[in-house]
Subunit: 211 residues, 2 copies
C-alpha cells in the first residue's frame, strides 16, 4: 500500500494511526499542502478532491480518512477498530463524525486560507474562529465520553476509529492554543492513546516530511 | 422510532430519506433550529451535540446522520444502502463524506451565524462563502461520478448512502443560488432520486413543520 499524505494533515494522521494499529506496512509519499503539491497534475489525476490522505491499495485508490479506515477494518479485521455491536459502532462513528464533520472541516488549511484571503479576516479573527470550533466541538465529545461506557479509550479499553480521529484534533487544539481545561476526559483518552506506538510513532513530528 | 429533526436541516433530511428507503415508520418530532429549540433543556439532555437529527430507537439515542444511516442499514438490511463489496462501500462512504465533511459543515446554520455575528461578514460575503464551498465541493462529486461505475444513482442503479447525502445538498445549492451548470452528472443523479417517493415525500416543503 502507498499513503499519500502530509505530516501536519490531521486527516492523514488518522489513517497513519489506523495502519499502525493494524500493523500494516505502506510506502509514505509526502504531498506538501503548503506548497500546493495536491494541485499538481499527477496527484490531481488520482484524487478528484485534491485532498490528502489518499491510499493506494494495489490498483485501487481510496480517499476520505473515515472511509479509508472502515475499508482497512473490513479488509484487515484484526484488531477491530469498530465494536462488534451495531449500537457500539453507531456510537463510535458518531464520535468520529462529531470531530470529522463538526470541528475539523472548519479549521483545515484551505478553509483558513479562504477566510483570510477571500473573506478578509485578520489573523486574530482567524485564531478566534479556530479556537471557537475546537472548544465547542470538544465539549460535545467530553459530554459523550461522560455518558458512555467506562474505559481508557473513546469506547472501552481498546483504541478504535474514534481515537484515530480524536488524537490529531487534540494536537491541532494544542497547536492553536485552544482552551482544554473543560475536557478532562478527552485529555485522558488522548494521553492513553499517546502511550501506544501506533499513535506516538505516527505523529507529525516523527513523519518523514516533518519540518 | 422517533426522529428529532428540522424540515430545513439537510442532515435531518438524509435520515428521513434512509428511513423511507427502508420503509420504516417513525414519529416526526420537530426541533426548530431558528428558534433554537435544540438548546432547550429537554433536548440538550438527550443530545450532547445539540444537533439534529437525533434518532430514538427504543431506549437508544443516536446522532450524526451518516452514523444513523449505517446503523439503520445494519439493523434493517433491506434494501441495502451500501454496496456488498468493501471497495464499493469505501467509494460510497467517501462520496457521502465529500459532501458531509467538505461542503455541508461550512454552510450550516450555526456556522453562518458565527460568520455574520462574530466575524462580521456581510450578507454578500456570507453568500459568496456558501456558494464557493458548494460549487467547489460538487465539482469533486462530479469528477467522481464521471470516473465511477455507470448507473442512475451515485453508485449503480440503486439509491444508497451517497444519494441520501447528495440530494439535500442540491436543495441547499438551489436555495443559495449556487452555480450548477458544471455538474451535469450530479444533477442527473439528483433528478433520478427525486422521482422516488422516498426522496420526494421527505423533502423540506412536505415536512410537518415546513414553513
Amino acid at each position: 500500500m502507498e499513503l499519500f499524505n502530509y505530516f501536519r494533515s490531521s486527516a492523514s494522521w488518522r489513517v497513519r494511526i489506523a495502519l499502525a494499529l493494524k500493523g500494516l506496512d505502506y510506502d509514505y509519499t509526502a504531498i506538501h499542502l503548503v506548497k500546493k503539491e495536491q494541485l499538481a497534475e499527477d496527484f490531481a489525476a488520482m484524487q478528484a478532491s485534491r485532498l490528502v490522505p489518499l491510499l493506494r491499495d494495489g490498483d485501487e485508490l481510496l480517499g476520505q480518512s473515515m472511509a479509508i479506515i472502515e475499508y482497512l477494518d473490513e479488509t484487515h479485521p484484526e484488531p477491530p477498530l469498530l465494536p462488534a455491536d451495531a449500537l457500539g459502532r453507531a456510537r463510535v462513528r458518531a464520535l468520529a463524525q462529531d470531530i470529522a464533520c463538526e470541528i475539523h472541516p472548519l479549521n483545515n488549511l484551505r478553509v483558513l486560507r479562504y477566510l483570510v484571503h477571500d473573506m478578509g479576516l485578520s489573523d486574530d479573527q482567524k485564531n478566534r474562529w479556530i479556537r471557537h470550533w475546537i472548544e465547542e466541538g470538544l465539549a460535545v465529545v467530553e459530554r459523550k465520553l461522560e455518558a458512555g461506557p467506562a474505559g481508557r479509550f473513546c469506547h472501552g479499553d481498546a483504541p478504535g476509529l474514534a481515537d484515530c480521529v480524536l488524537v490529531p484534533q487534540i494536537f491541532n487544539a494544542q497547536r492553536f492554543e485552544a482552551r482544554l481545561d473543560h475536557v478532562p476526559r478527552v485529555l485522558r483518552v488522548h494521553e492513553a492513546c499517546m502511550t501506544l506506538p501506533a499513535f506516538d510513532q505516527t505523529q507529525p513530528s516523527k513523519c518523514p516530511d516533518a519540518e
